[in-house]
């Protein structure tokens, strides 16, 4: 039995009187591809926002590798090893593609370089910059954006912007990578390509992946286990082929 990377216990949040998510219990094991699915407004992104520190959960706790991260800030949680992408793409629009990734590398211990080192242009500054650029190229190669590296990120087509978000998150060297609708707006060919990338990230870099997706083909083709959310509560958990054929889930999607 491999070890648990992310564990949540009774995780919940309410806005005013509205209970957006309640009593969420999930366990994501190492190197797992875990899916979070559910109809619109089910609270999937809210879960992401809680485990990445955008929102503070009102109830429950969550652990990364056994360390309690409940209520920590976004930066801290990122440093501890959870990286994410956004549903509505949030790139650094005025920067080139490679720079976006280099921002992701900012906190890696091997690229440590103090403010004064940079201001006085000590040799270490140049060395770090060069090393960061090389690493950024490697990461861009994984998602297939190496040739686009000198373009402004806002000029990329939609699908590539999503891939760049993945690359940037990957650059922070996460244990758990959270992808918020990575395939949204992609054509079938691009989706296929993305599936390969996601699998490669998991297999070659041993990163556990949690993803939100509406494309059921994508989910069932990729995920080992899924949780179906509806109205903020978890309906079913299990392997995709089992969970998606559950009558409760069909009812939630089709209504009735």
């Amino acid at each position: 039995m491999s070890k648990v990377v992310l564990k949540t216990e009774n995780l919940g949040i309410s806005f005013g009187g509205l209970k957006a998510v309640q009593n969420l219990n999930i366990e994501i094991k190492e190197r797992q591809l875990y899916g979070l699915v559910g109809p619109n407004g089910a609270g999937k992104t809210t879960v992401f926002n809680m485990i990445t520190g955008v929102y503070k959960p009102t109830t429950g706790r969550f652990w990364l590798d056994g360390e309690d991260l409940t209520g920590k800030g976004q930066e801290t949680i990122n440093h501890k090893g959870i990286a994410r992408t956004f549903q509505n793409i949030r790139l650094f629009n005025n920067m080139t593609v490679i720079r976006n990734v280099m921002v992701g590398l900012h906190n890696q211990p091997e690229f440590k370089c103090g403010v004064f080192t940079s201001i006085f242009r000590l040799p270490k500054h140049f060395k770090t910059e060069r090393a960061m650029r090389d690493r950024a190229k490697e990461i861009l190669d994984i998602v297939g954006l190496l040739d686009e590296r000198n373009n402004l990120s806002c000029n990329l087509p939609y699908g590539k912007q999503r891939k760049l978000e993945i690359a940037r998150a990957l650059a922070t060297n996460p244990k758990l990578l959270c992808l918020d609708e990575p395939a949204a707006g992609m054509n079938p060919h691009e989706t296929e390509d993305l599936m390969k990338i996601v699998r490669r990230i998991r297999d070659e870099y041993n990163i556990t992946i949690l993803l939100i997706e509406h494309d059921m083909k994508f989910v069932s083709g990729l995920c080992d286990e899924i949780t179906v959310l509806n109205f903020g509560t978890s309906l079913v958990q299990g392997p995709p082929e089992v969970a998606l054929s559950d009558p409760e889930v069909i009812k939630a999607y089709i209504g009735g």
């Binding site: 955008v54 949030r90 650094f92 690229f111 201001i119 910059e129 650029r133 707006g185």
Partner: protein, 377 residues
């Protein structure tokens, strides 16, 4: 040969130009070609450039609006001036100058860090108004100080310095400001700062320590504003609190905006040009006509900002701008771009001032029904 090519000449161009100008005028000054009013003008230009470059760090690169830059300068001018008054008889001219520059800068930097704290919670208009309030508080404190401490409403008399050399000192400070600002911006730290400007939430999610960098920018920027203040006190022999009203902060802001936000060379040129015109026009425009100049600045400011930012003019801008004009003669070849080709001179897309207030409203979403929002890009 290869190594020679890889040096980014455009990165060093402004140092070279500023240094060359300094040397030329120093020689002219030694040979007696320029008189004291010219030297005074040069001092003023150097002070203005220091202020504009340091403010451009906050406005252009961090993307926060500060209307309190004159307040930091005020702190530097009074405290540096006072230090000079005390130290000059004891230590002599040069040590007093150096120590007071450091003291003025350091104290201003401390206050910059303090005023950076609200910047962690507030942004946009709110932060602008807090910095403005801060500047006015500082001014009011110095204005009401006792005659013995800072001279109160009469102002503080500060030591004189050899006018042949002072402008050279001032320009050396410009070079220092440029070096620190540009080295900071063109490093991983600068990348983090611009990342915060472009998208703070994404920057946080990427693990950027937003607190640290906001405080850093405010501290460094106000350090140099403080230095400019000390130079001002030396240049004018007297420090009057009325000088540092928020109108002066706005004047500095005008320089930054006219130079193109986030464009350091532009800020230098705008600062030099405006200061030069200020002094030259003072003799031509007298009486009520003197404000004609302010009026023209105001008009230029409005027209320029609307031209550069109006969503309706977007296509027009892309078609007819200087870069496109140059590109006609020199075809654009993206493959020739180097990895580190700087794109620092771009104006921030949006400042998320609404984050605290209202946020469902997106700053960039068009309201005109004939222009539906494009998906994706």
């Amino acid at each position: 040969m290869n190594k020679f090519n890889s040096v980014k000449w455009n990165h060093y161009l402004n140092y070279i130009v500023v240094a060359a100008v300094t040397v030329i005028f120093a020689i002219l000054s030694l040979t007696g070609f320029i008189d004291s009013s010219d030297k005074y003008l040069l001092e003023k230009i150097a002070i203005a450039i220091t202020l504009a470059v340091s403010l451009s760090m906050v406005v252009g690169f961090l993307g926060e609006l500060s209307l309190g830059h004159a307040g930091f300068m005020c702190i530097g001018a009074y405290l540096g001036g006072k230090t000079a008054v005390i130290l000059e008889p004891m230590l002599g001219e040069w040590p007093a100058l150096i120590v007071s520059l450091l003291v003025g800068g350091a104290v201003a930097a401390i206050f910059g860090m303090i005023i950076g704290l609200p910047a962690l919670r507030l942004r946009g208009d709110y932060l602008a108004i807090v910095t403005l309030a801060f500047g006015e508080i500082v001014r009011s404190i110095f204005m009401n100080s006792s005659k013995e401490s800072f001279g109160g409403s009469l102002g503080l008399d500060t030591p004189r310095f050899n006018k042949d050399i002072l402008f050279v000192v001032a320009f050396i400070m410009v070079l220092a400001t440029l070096a620190v600002t540009q080295n900071l911006i063109r490093s991983k730290h600068g990348r983090a700062i611009t990342a915060i400007r472009d998208n703070e939430i994404a920057a946080r999610a990427t693990g950027i320590d937003v607190t640290k960098y906001k405080l850093l920018v405010f501290t460094v920027s106000s350090f140099f504003a403080g230095i400019a203040g000390v130079l001002y006190s030396y240049s004018n022999f007297t420090v009057q609190s009325t000088k540092f009203s928020y109108n002066y902060s706005i004047e500095i802001l005008v320089m930054v905006v006219l130079g193109g936000m986030g464009n350091i060379n532009g800020a230098i040129i705008a600062a030099a040009l405006i200061t030069f015109l200020d002094v030259e026009l003072q003799t031509i425009l007298t009486g009520n006509l003197a404000v004609l100049q302010d009026l023209i600045y105001a008009l230029i400011l409005i027209v320029l900002v609307i031209y550069n930012n109006a969503p309706a003019l977007k296509n027009f801008r892309e078609k007819y701008n200087l870069k496109a004009f140059i590109r006609k003669f020199k075809p654009h070849n993206p493959s020739k771009h180097k990895d580190d080709e700087a794109k620092w001179d771009r104006v921030p897309t949006k400042i998320k001032m609404d984050e605290i207030l209202s946020v469902d409203f997106q700053a960039n979403s068009p309201y005109t029904p004939d222009k539906p929002e494009k998906e994706g890009k």
